[in-house]
């Protein structure tokens, strides 16, 4: 009799453990119910392939040449210069989000880098603890409660979503390079900015792509999670 009671107790306790484990797992599962709205997956995959082909056969060799010809210090100076020009966009969209501390920081950062940092070529602000507060109209709309809509891969520009694509022209309005006259000068300077950006970040792109069995999924999910993080912050 004693044995039967012991066995029953053991069975009951094991059952409790398995129920506890089951509940615990379900609780964890709830943290990962992230579904990216991707009704245009076929088109997106196609465009993503086109972009990677362009990257592999056109941009990547071009970037390698640029990388060889242009010294690292110059590349970083150009990178910092163009990054600094994003400050007005960061300031405006942080201000419109009522994020005053971020706005003040970004104003200070822009002032310091544009003056002491010689038009932003040297990122003096970061070493003085004034960090960038990245934001744009897509982030602003997200903070106002607009959902991301559906995932969208844009030609050449890459990952985006409906909300961010709609916001993109507004971002362009605040970017000073777009006001350069004549128009071809603006296009040329933009091209330099993009090439330099890709050169500096090429190792990251290559590594990111190498990491996955399906770079499309990795980039899609990472893009949406990263944008959500900027909105939440």
């Amino acid at each position: 009799m004693k044995n039967i009671i012991s066995i029953l107790l053991l069975v009951c306790s094991l059952q409790n453990i398995s129920y506890a484990n089951l509940n615990e797992l379900e609780e964890f599962e709830e943290e990962y119910i992230q579904v990216v709205n991707d009704p245009l997956e076929n088109y997106n995959r196609f465009m993503s392939d086109v972009n990677w082909q362009l990257y592999d056969y056109v941009f990547s060799p071009m970037l390698d040449v640029y990388n060889t010809l242009v010294p690292l210090g110059f590349r970083m100076g150009v990178y910092n210069f163009f990054n600094n020009l994003f400050s007005p966009l960061n300031i405006l969209t942080n201000l419109l989000s009522f994020r005053m501390e971020e706005t003040y920081n970004e104003v200070g950062r822009f002032a310091l880098n544009s003056t002491v940092g010689i038009f932003g070529v040297f990122d003096i602000a970061t070493s003085n603890g004034l960090y960038a507060n990245k934001s744009d109209f897509g982030v602003l709309f997200g903070r106002y409660g607009f959902g991301s809509g559906f995932y969208l891969v844009l030609p050449i520009l890459g990952p985006s979503n409906l909300r961010d694509s709609i916001a993109m022209p507004l971002d362009s309005l605040i970017y000073p390079i777009n006001y350069l006259d004549p128009f071809y000068l603006s296009v040329g300077v933009r091209a330099l900015k993009e090439i330099n950006y890709f050169v500096v970040n090429k190792p990251r792109f290559d590594e990111f792509r190498k990491d996955s069995s399906d770079s499309y999924l990795l980039i899609r999910d990472s893009y949406e999670q990263y944008r959500d993080e900027l909105i939440r912050r």
Partner: protein
């Protein structure tokens, strides 16, 4: 009897050596992140540095749970041998990914900002890293297990490690089932090969 007592004491000591009680999460993580920063500055081979850093944090990670969450409900359909193999490949994949990233971020400094108990059984420890002039965050997610607190996920600039694996595994499962997942893991396609 004496021998049994000595073995028990040793076992208890070992358990204590590798325990991470709630109160020491922040201090332990801070100390180990500082140590790993020093390792990174030694400029050794990435693989060696990654191994040394992993040795510092290994006992804090619940790889089994991470693997389980990454494969989601399909994990329960595996037999014990498959589970063991899956966790082992998964751990290797994480380590390889980490090693390949070290080279890219070795000049960045990581600092512990602080922790927050978001609910009774969840604790998030936030560390900061400056990337492109912007302050970004790495969140180590802890949960309690047998009086210890273990890491079950890491968010890097908002991107969850577990979530990225989940999406990829779900897609492979859909197209080629669990065999496909094992094939990809074995061939090293889910992690950067040296």
């Amino acid at each position: 009897m004496k021998k049994v007592f000595v073995i028990l004491c040793c076992a208890l000591l070992c358990v204590n050596l590798y325990a991470l009680p709630f109160d020491s999460i922040e201090s332990e993580m801070k100390a180990r992140i500082d140590k790993s920063m020093k390792i990174v500055k030694t400029n050794k081979d990435s693989k060696i540095m990654a191994d040394e850093i992993f040795a510092l944090f290994d006992f804090m990670f619940d790889y089994e749970l991470m693997a389980k969450l990454s494969l989601s409900k399909e994990y329960n359909n595996l037999d014990n041998r498959q589970k063991e193999m899956f966790v082992s490949y998964y751990k290797k994949s994480l380590q390889q990914n980490f090693a390949s990233k070290l080279e890219l971020y070795k000049d960045n400094t990581i600092e512990v900002v602080g922790g927050e108990q978001i609910k009774e059984n969840r604790y998030n420890l936030t560390a900061s890293i400056v990337i492109d002039g912007a302050l970004s965050y790495i969140i180590f997610k802890f949960y309690p297990k047998n009086n210890d607190w273990l890491i079950y996920d890491v968010d890097i600039i908002g991107i969850s490690v577990v979530q990225t694996y989940r999406s990829q595994f779900a897609d492979i499962l859909k197209s080629s089932g669990i065999d496909g997942v094992f094939d990809r893991l074995k061939s090293g396609e889910l992690f950067a090969e040296e």
